[in-house]
């Protein structure tokens, strides 16, 4: 026990321990933080891991070299390994193992790897100020959903439900999570409306624009050639699109973003 305690007081082993702990946190810990705030998460990618670990290493080195005595004690086991006649075996083992490891990693880097061409797209491209819908010009900026100020909302939700189930469901799904029965066949996969980063961030006029013009109506940075979203103006009337917008917000429980009082707000894009 006391040997362990001694080792824990030794700056060299402290440094090693800190680095191992940092690696564990980066590799396994970080991905569980975003879900606490309801955001989707993924493991830290390899390249970022390397940056994180280098930062941690610099921090640890700053700590051990911070005072002279600690720095000397930190170097002791390293010098001993390099010099001590009693540590000859360890020395030889390291001299074999470390180059072998480097060789292996080089091989993994050099080995031809195949990856598909990168696909990038902007999530919420900037909307145009004005569009034509079935030949009719519409000013999007400052535009509110006309159904919200006319007729019974319940009727609009009912109509929107019909439109959704007959048109949107195969991709965006019963659960509104983009996992409809055809969703897996498309790339990029259909948007999840339950994700706080989608319709919750947008005005209803933005959503109207995206539905009306679909993938083909995306600006170039939106990679219109990949999106499977149809241009729904070919299928639906303006009222049907506005109704399905109402339904999306009702069913998902999100509130649409509103235009600022001045009318010239940020619009939908982030």
């Amino acid at each position: 026990m006391s040997r362990v305690r001694d080792a824990l007081r030794h700056p060299f082993w402290q440094a090693v321990l800190l680095l191992v702990a940092a690696w564990l946190v980066f590799r396994f810990g970080i991905q569980y933080v975003p879900p606490l705030f309801g955001v989707r998460s993924a493991p830290v990618p390899q390249s970022v891991m390397l940056q994180y670990m280098l930062t941690a290493l610099v921090g640890v080195l700053l700590y051990v070299s911070d005072n002279e005595a600690r720095w000397r004690r930190f170097k002791e086991p390293i010098t001993a390994t390099l010099v001590d006649p009693g540590k000859r075996r360890l020395r030889v083992a390291l001299l074999v193992l470390v180059p072998a490891l480097v060789g292996f990693m080089t091989y993994r880097q050099a080995r031809p790897s195949v990856s598909a061409p990168i696909q990038l797209r902007s999530i919420h491209p900037a909307p145009p100020g004005e569009i034509t819908f079935r030949g009719q010009s519409m000013r999007l900026t400052g535009l509110e959903n006309p159904l919200r100020s006319g007729g019974a909302l319940e009727e609009h939700v009912r109509e929107g439900r019909r439109v959704y189930y007959q048109n949107c469901l195969p991709c965006h799904g019963d659960r509104l999570d983009g996992e409809g029965h055809f969703g897996h066949g498309f790339s990029p996969t259909p948007l999840s409306f339950t994700d706080p980063g989608t319709i919750a961030q947008l005005t209803e006029s933005f959503v109207f624009w995206r539905i009306a013009k679909g993938g083909p109506g995306l600006p170039r940075e939106g990679a219109p050639w990949n999106s499977a979203m149809p241009a729904w103006e070919d299928f639906l009337t303006a009222d049907e699109v506005w109704a399905v917008v109402v339904f999306l917000y009702e069913q998902s429980g999100w509130q649409p973003r509103r235009w600022e009082a001045g009318g010239e707000g940020e619009g939908g894009h982030e």
């Binding site: 480097v102 195969p170 990949n226 149809p230 070919d234």
Partner: protein
Amino acid sequence: MSRRRVGVALLALAWSVSLAVLGPLQAQDLTRGKAVYDRWCAGCHGETGAGDGEAMTYMLPRPRDFRRAVYQVRTTATGGLPTDADLMRVVDEGMPGTTMPGWRTRLSEAERRDVVAHIKSFSRFFEGENPTPLAFGKAPRLTAEGLVEGERWYRELECFKCHGDAGRGDGPSAPTLTDDWNQPIRAADLTRGWNFNGGASVEQIYRRLRTGLDGTPMPSFSDAVEGEILTEEQLWRVAQWVHSLSPERPPVREVIRAPRLDGALPSGPEDSAWAAIPPAWVPLVGQIVIKPRWFAPRVDGLWVRAAHDGQTLAVLVAWSDPSRSPDATWQEWIDGVAGAMTDADGPVPTTQGPDRLHVQVPLRPPEGLERPYFLGGDPRRPTYQWQWTSAPDAVREGRGTGLGAFTASATTTVQHAAVFADGEWRVQFARALAPADTAAAPAFPVGEAVPMAFYAADGSDGEDERRGAVSAWYAIYLDVPTPPRVYVAPVLAVLVTAGLGGLVVVRAQRRARST
């Protein structure tokens, strides 16, 4: 005697107490269950549970009609009601191969329980009933002889009549199948386990064999077991045999690898050399982007293999299709499908066309990240396509500017061979890596991922040039010979590291000696 009477009295007491306690609870459940149902289920199943929601004609099979209390996936005897656990399982996990999703991620357990109570309320058959599950026993150990026996019973029990000799749902009765609501229903393709309505494990398959899939033509074989036509173990062997027909759900990779072969390329779709090349699974889904949309595609994916020899690229595409279209025996089927599906985008064809497979790549190398529109290309960025049809068995080669917008070249440089057997098409294409005419066709560069996408249609299923199944963009990669640096670089790295390490040791020791 008296003990029994006490028992009965106790039972009666328990019954009345549970009624008193559970009665109001049940009512409460139903109110909440109705709210959940109306919000999340009624769009397909209809507010009255008749399976006639707004989406009814936009899916095949259609949504379940709850009023008859006929359920496919049960643990109870055929003709019996499902247990609550059976219903709960389907609500939780959904029905693979259909449009029914699992609800675990969306609804709380209480909500799911309430909705099950509400679903049961659509039929009076459930009143006072407490269905009991069958006893299923355990699977015997999987053996090679067992599989042979399973296959023997697969034929003996005439499973092939619907499911076909190789299990691809292409049996002689397949074109005539309808469910209890007189809607067309497909015999399961047993090589696609991930689409089995009740799950793909041996245990789940065995349960379906014992309980049948009520409401569908799939019968229960419990009678055969009870009548000692076959033993339980032999029925388990059938389940194991069926299970063996399907791979696990194949992972989707974005890149189709075409290895470079030193010897000759495979000579045709049936060349055994193809077996050495791992296939890539390309999932296909209904074309629901432009008019006319198609909501019930037959082809759910393609197995794609490719290889090259530095001169020629060969691509083999294999997929399940129960008919070699057009086929008169499938006329009844196509009529049924046309009657079942929506005509929102125009009437579904009732004359059979050929089966189709389109393979497309960009006509010109993509500039930056831009590609042609994934649906056949666009006028600004056309695609180069191979369009194969089953009748006549021919490939047209040419330029696509959208789905259904295709101009065939005067000359064809792609060779093909197509084989149809046991409900599967295997079509091989071969073309020189360098095109004969660089304006009309792109080259297939080695060592570079080239975007590739697919389209497939079953002419006996109401499908044509637009009603069919599409894929997103994938990529094909023609392997390059391994460059020498792959082997040289690691050796250099080892030498340099070892040398540096040695240097550090020597210097440290010299310094130690000098102090």
